[in-house]
Amino acid sequence: MSISRADVEKVALLARLTLTEDEAQQMTRQLNDIVTYVDHLSEVDTEGVEPMAHAVEVHNVLRPDVVRDSLPRDQALANAPKHSGVGYLVPAVLGD
């Protein structure tokens, strides 16, 4: 499969990145090299093989349902680029 310049633009939007003209050209070339390499995986016979998402397949790790302290609000906000003291501030989302 080859990746077109239009694919790169589309993926950049999905990934919430903006690429300069130079970056987009270089990215198209490099992603094609990498994807050509990983395309070799299609030669592997995986008929009937279960996908393995984790090395240790542990499920439903539970702990007692006990209320614990959570991060205080001021500490949760302390690293925010912009906050009001009660919440994070971002550019207007509605009515834009």
């Binding site: 950049a12 995986t46 393995m52 090395a55 925010a80 994070y88 989302v93």
Partner: protein, 512 residues
């Protein structure tokens, strides 16, 4: 022998006997860093006053006869990827340049409990993506054995500071070889434990199903000492294994009887540097000399490991790094200029009557995300986010991500079958010694192929370690890699110690 030439185990002995103090050791590390790190660039930050204050507090407690932790008074360097409360944790990225975590990672908390001195934060490839530490947003790290060469990566600073005598012990992380490969290039010992053996809580995520924290040190015993302090179940990491932790130091000097070592045919194929091959073959012969049985075997799917890794790791990375949105923490673009430009773009499209262009213009929020991320994230990280987003996008998910997960199982099954016949697998850590800086500037795929021998352990979740086994004619260290079945770190360490004790290779100090 000076303090910076002593092993951590020797220093503990001297501390216990009252022959030295934590202040003296810490000061020696700080002096060494002061005089040599301008050349090497292993550390991103060292807070000498804070380190000395910790050392003094431990010395005081020792003098008062208090019971101290197992690393009491020993300086430990920490890769700048593990959260330390109130201290910058940058991941060598502009994105997190001003980030100060509100809590300690479990590993940092365990180091504190062990009474270690937190010496400073080491350089790395941005968000641990890369194999050369050249992808740091702040500085490259140089290999102490040859300053024109890379220390490897992504834990390049972590390995280089140990090799250069700036710290006896160092914490790294390994997602595809990021502890073992720089350890091999810098002539030190490094281990990636079993997935789940060491808590990932407070480790800034790259690829969550592959990331693992581990020790780097100057000797096998020191590696065991550090692993012993950081390993164990953690209820804040749901992938942490709830199993008993053995004492890794207990039997470390006892050779393994009837050891069966697997030598993998695929590890000695095309592309293996002849000097690396002969050093590794000599190490295998040294084990034979100690009574080990050598078993030739095949890992038929290992040739697909790099491709599998470079699908799975970027997919997980693109998802994990979505959290850097310029809203909750991290870098945000200059908002006023961004909004002014957005308005100008809209006006231009309106005046041109271009409906399509007007439609394509991002909302203010999306533009804030995109511009913040694009300004603060470096090229290698962008590449991996893009690769992952592509492989996960509609139409490609089955062909790439799902396919890679299936091949991952085949890779694991190869190991499971191999470990029915052998106790450990032995081979090279890397195909060649450390590359020159800049060698892979325009060749990301070439850099990815450096991970050939290391990524399988991450995909399969196995423990593996690298230890020095030789030197090239030009004086560069060569690493020997051992793989063990899950949770057999103690076996790995004992086998590595056997090699050290065989006297087949004596690691030299690097002259700076």
């Amino acid at each position: 022998m000076t303090l910076v030439e002593s092993s951590a185990a020797e220093l503990l002995g001297q501390l216990g006997a009252g022959e030295t103090s934590s202040r003296e050791i810490t000061q020696a590390c700080l002096d060494r860093t002061e005089s040599h790190d301008a050349q090497v660039g292993a550390f991103l930050r060292v807070d000498a006053d804070a380190a000395l204050a910790q050392a003094d507090a431990i010395d005081k407690r020792r003098a008062a006869g208090e019971t101290l932790g197992p690393l009491a008074g020993l300086p430990v360097a920490v890769k700048d990827l593990l959260c330390q409360q109130g201290e910058p944790t940058t991941c060598a990225s502009r994105m997190l340049e001003n980030f100060r975590p509100p809590y300690d990672s479990t590993v940092v908390a365990k180091l504190r409990e062990a009474d270690a001195v937190l010496l400073g934060r080491t350089n790395m490839d941005e968000f641990a993506m890369g194999g050369s530490t050249e992808n740091s947003a702040f500085q490259p790290t140089r290999n102490p054995w040859d300053l024109k060469r890379s220390p490897g990566g992504s834990s390049g600073g972590a390995a280089a500071c140990v090799a250069a005598g700036m710290a006896p012990l160092s914490i790294g992380t390994d997602t595809g070889g990021s502890i073992r490969q720089p350890s091999a290039f810098c002539g030190v010992v490094g281990m990636k434990p079993t997935y789940g053996r060491v808590s990932r809580f407070g480790l800034v995520a790259f690829a969550s199903s592959l990331d693992q924290v581990g020790p780097i040190a100057g000797s096998v015993t020191d590696t065991a000492l550090l692993l012993d302090a950081i390993a164990g179940h953690c209820e804040r990491d749901s992938t942490s294994l709830d199993v008993a932790k053995p004492n890794y130091l207990q039997d470390i000097d006892k050779p393994l009887d009837g050891l069966r070592l697997g030598v993998v045919t695929e590890h000695f194929g095309k592309g293996l540097d002849p000097e690396v091959e002969s050093a590794v073959r000599a190490a295998i012969a040294a084990y034979e000399g100690q009574g080990a049985e050598i078993v030739e075997l095949s890992l038929p799917h290992s040739k697909h490991a790099v491709a599998t890794y470079y699908v799975i790791a970027p997919c997980e990375a693109s998802s994990n790094l979505a959290r850097y949105d310029g809203a909750h923490y991290g870098y945000r673009t200059e908002e006023r200029a961004m909004l002014a430009q957005l308005q100008a773009d809209r006006k231009a499209a309106q005046e041109a009557g271009d409906e399509q262009a007007l439609d394509d213009i991002d909302t203010a929020l999306v533009r804030m995300y995109r511009q913040s991320r694009s300004e603060a994230i470096g090229p290698e990280v962008k590449r991996r986010i893009m690769l992952g987003a592509y492989a996960l996008s509609a139409g490609y998910y089955d062909a790439y991500y799902l396919k890679a997960l299936k091949v991952r199982r085949l890779i694991r099954q190869d190991f499971d079958q191999a470990f029915e016949k052998v106790d450990l697998i032995i081979g090279p850590t890397t195909a060649a010694p450390a590359p020159e800086l800049g060698q892979f500037d325009n060749d990301p795929l070439g850099m990815y192929l450096l991970d050939l021998y290391t990524v399988s352990a991450n995909l399969a979740g196995l423990p593996a370690m690298s230890l020095p086994c030789g030197q090239s004619k030009s004086g560069l260290p060569i690493g020997l890699q051992l793989h063990a079945p899950p949770l057999e770190e103690a076996r790995l360490l004992r086998a590595a110690r056997m090699f050290e004790q065989s006297g087949a290779w004596e690691t030299k100090r690097c002259e700076l």
